[in-house]
Symmetry: C2
Subunit: 218 residues, 2 copies
């Protein structure tokens, strides 16, 4: 019974996701879906990327949270258009929500939209949002077994960010172990070792994202 319902939701989600894709292609907007555990550093990473991109591109953000608007306020303070999406208990963002939210933005003017998904390594991976890039964050304090325990998200990611990399000395984290396992489930994903705090590794990730953005804006 419930499996059937989930399939229906996912099929409907796929239709919505395709509509989003068409709209973004027409308007030349690059949509980046940022996913990771609670506290993996999604907001901080998005903020650091925005700081480096905002002089060249028009950027908007969709902040997904179960409740509250703490992160949206942080983005707003950068002078960036932001919509707070409160899922009121739901553990992921669905394409329908994104399709509705796109109406709040002037897509002809915008180049990049970041989506900060709900902090969750499980459910967001199931829902395509019409995005051009999936960025999965795994922070060092979470441990090096997460790609094994939560394979779906990491198997779909275009970029895997090992975040809080400045903390490598304080936690037992085998980054080569992660890299090796990731290759078995996703041979295409690029791995970036990043610290939003120190700025380490941020430029490599930035180059990767900008390459995608430039292709989209052509």
């Amino acid at each position: 019974m419930d499996i059937k319902v989930v399939r229906q939701i996912l099929e409907w989600n796929e239709d919505c996701s395709n509509e989003i894709k068409e709209s973004l292609n027409r308007n030349k907007v690059c949509l980046i879906n940022v996913m990771g555990s609670p506290g993996a550093g999604k907001t901080s990473l998005i903020i650091e990327l925005i700081k480096k991109l905002k002089d060249k591109y028009n950027i908007a953000v969709v902040e997904g949270d179960i409740a509250g608007q703490i992160d949206a306020e942080k983005i707003d303070s950068l002078g960036i258009s932001v919509v707070q999406l409160n899922t009121e208990g739901a553990c992921h963002i669905e394409a329908l929500s994104i399709r509705n939210i796109l109406g709040y933005f002037d897509l002809e003017e915008i180049d990049i939209i970041f989506i900060e998904n709900i902090g969750n390594l499980v459910c967001p991976a199931e829902f395509e949002l019409g995005e051009d890039l999936k960025v999965a964050i795994l922070s060092i304090p979470e441990g090096d077994d997460k790609t094994i325990k939560y394979p779906l998200l990491f198997s779909k990611a275009d970029a895997v960010v090992l975040n809080k990399y400045d903390m490598m000395d304080y936690f037992e984290f085998g980054d080569e172990k992660v890299e090796k396992h990731l290759k078995t489930i996703n041979s295409e994903a690029k791995i970036f070792r990043v610290s939003s705090k120190t700025g380490e590794g941020l430029n490599l990730l930035l180059n990767f994202i900008e390459d995608k953005v430039k292709t989209k804006l052509k």
Copy 2:
């Protein structure tokens, strides 16, 4: 449509949860549901608690994971009965699974069962498992805004463990801020500052758990 289905699942879950409660009361078993983000330190905390409890009580563990059995192997190496529950994609444990798993244990002999829930701050909070104690773990590296962003889990917890407390010097984490907010959503919850690594604060949590266990075993 989907709301109706979720309600049905939750009602069914409640029936199952009540059955579990009756069985545990009859057999004098204390069930402890440990929840938290991926990488919050659920397994390590359970292992440290088991080490301190296993000479006095018969303990069993249910290890919930989307995939794999890394954590179950760790528990097994302590000589503790463990069942690995693989949810194969599902983001939480339902009472039906626990009810079925109880059949694998000799409940007349067992005093305490720990459930390690799926690493997720959202969905597990919705599903009662017939437990006597809900322990919510929030690790310092995750940040001090998590009780605000994921209120349901923390509002239902009997104990909130601020884990990896030895990392307080390395992260900006306002533990008094968390304590203050927690009081607004859950005035009953006890807060414990713990490091499974150094052992700091573990005895206070242990006393809290043992009090509950002793009441149940009377």
